[in-house]
């Protein structure tokens, strides 16, 4: 079930990135694509009846922990994700400043007009 949902989310994210003309929606689609990958890694590290990987001194030997390594990698991936989102947003704002639009096709038609006039 987890892996199927991961595939569906990857597909929806990619669909939004390809089809939407609005740049901000495109970035959100990219966020969904990224979230699917995060979900995939965390599901790999899941163990049934496991506890978070915090090892106490008097724990029984056979206690199950979920895998810490994918968690650390995904923790850093989330933070990098927000950094890329912020940079993308500032680029979109700068695009809007020049072309007065964040719609892809309007921007392309404006670029073509500029080429004709110059």
């Amino acid at each position: 079930m987890n892996y199927i949902v991961v595939v569906i989310l990857l597909m929806i994210g990619l669909f939004i990135v390809i089809t939407s003309r609005n740049l901000i929606k495109k970035i959100i689609g990219l966020g969904i694509f990224q979230a699917a990958i995060l979900l995939f890694y965390i599901s790999l590290g899941k163990v049934y009846k496991a506890v978070p990987p915090i090892i106490l001194a008097n724990d029984p030997v056979d206690k199950l922990y979920s895998s810490p390594l994918p968690q650390v990698l995904m923790l850093t991936a989330i933070v990098v994700g927000i950094a890329t989102l912020a940079v993308a947003m500032s680029f979109i704002i700068k695009i809007n400043e020049n072309f007065d639009s964040i719609d892809e096709e309007e921007i392309i038609s404006k670029i073509k007009e500029d080429e004709f006039t110059s």
């Binding site: 901000i24 990987p53 940079v87």
Partner: protein, 352 residues
């Protein structure tokens, strides 16, 4: 009989776990479908915030509280605030989008093929939740068994983040700092000389928002700050650490600035201060690394600080503080930059 009983309890625990997870997973699919068909940016932003909250609940169910905390603070709060501010700065909400058109249908079929390929690749994966799947066997077991012995702290996640893969986290902090610098130089502009009287029309709305600001300042701010400092300081023995604490403090202050949207308040001084702060956080991290090298160890080998296991504890504590400062200041700085820009943008629009 005993065996039967045992089997039954384990079975029922598995069933309830799976049911809850599947419920959230279905919700996730519905929300992302709603994002795909929606044509209003405000709706999309709120739905994506909801998406992040569901993701956080799922991470918690999968026994990953650190990731859940980060996702809740960063995905649900900070990224929503960023997107809303950039919507204001580009003055866009509703947009036209045809769902059924020839390019969309073609891309739909391409994506179906992509999904089939992915499912074909996913068939070979080990079964979900097994104790001895490859991911849980070799390196993970090493980390779990050796964290108390080699590092001397209980949280395995903090041990990997700070010590085993400390170099990784160093690059991570650098990435955050660079993103902050990029946004700073792209968005910073001095306050334009414009007619200030336009501001004053928002005064009535501002009056009604005062109770909200007071509520945040008196109740929400102190409690959240205590929580965040607890997470920061107890990173080694409980879920949490620098990333989470920084993100929580930043999100509280973002909430504060959203509620207290006072236009006369000049933000550029705070932005410049936060910019310096973000550099300080990274400097703490890198000076810790250089300090260990000077003490006779390798780069980022905390063992060299005191020559015993205690060195790891001190080293991880200090670098977590550096990470926390960087995350907090970069996130808040980007938000304030976007706010500043959006205000100027709206003002220029109104004058035109």
């Amino acid at each position: 009989m005993m065996l039967m009983n045992d089997l039954f309890t384990s079975f029922s625990i598995n069933i309830s776990e799976i049911c809850l997870e599947n419920f959230f997973l279905l919700l996730l699919v519905f929300v992302s479908c709603a994002i795909a068909v929606s044509r209003s940016l405000l709706k999309i932003v709120i739905l994506s915030s909801m998406f992040s909250m569901i993701m956080a609940a799922l991470y918690l169910l999968m026994a990953a509280p650190d990731v859940a905390m980060t996702e809740a603070a960063i995905g649900a709060c900070i990224s929503t605030a960023f997107i809303i501010k950039s919507m204001q700065a580009t003055n866009s909400n509703e947009f036209k989008q045809k769902l059924v058109s020839l390019p969309n249908i073609i891309s739909f079929f391409i994506i179906i093929i992509f999904g089939e390929v992915m499912i074909y690749a996913f068939i070979d994966l080990p079964e979900y939740g097994q104790t001895f799947s490859p991911v849980n066997s070799y390196l993970s077991q090493y980390y779990i068994q050796n964290t108390p012995v080699e590092i001397g702290i209980s949280s395995s996640v903090a041990a990997i983040l700070g010590s085993y893969r400390g170099f990784d986290t160093l690059g991570e902090t650098l990435v955050i700092m660079v993103a902050g610098i990029v946004v700073y130089f792209l968005m910073l502009q001095e306050k334009k000389e414009l007619d200030v009287s336009i501001y004053k029309q928002g005064e009535i709305i501002y009056q009604s928002k005062i109770w909200m600001t007071d509520y945040i300042r008196v109740i929400l701010l102190p409690i959240s700050l205590i929580f965040a400092f607890y997470i920061q300081v107890h990173g080694e023995i409980s879920p949490g650490g620098g990333f989470q604490a920084g993100a929580i403090i930043a999100s509280v202050y973002i909430f504060f600035y959203v509620a207290n949207n006072d236009h006369d308040h000049d933000l550029s001084n705070i932005i410049k201060l936060l910019f310096k702060f973000s550099l300080v956080g990274f400097l703490i991290y890198i000076s810790m690394a250089i300090f260990t090298a000077l003490m006779g160890g390798y780069f980022l080998q905390y063992y060299a600080i005191t020559g015993s296991i205690l060195g790891h504890k001190i080293g991880i504590f200090i670098i977590e503080i550096g990470v926390g400062i960087t995350i907090f200041s970069v996130m808040l700085m980007i938000f304030l930059l976007l706010t500043h820009y959006a205000r100027n943008f709206q003002m220029v629009r109104e004058v035109k």
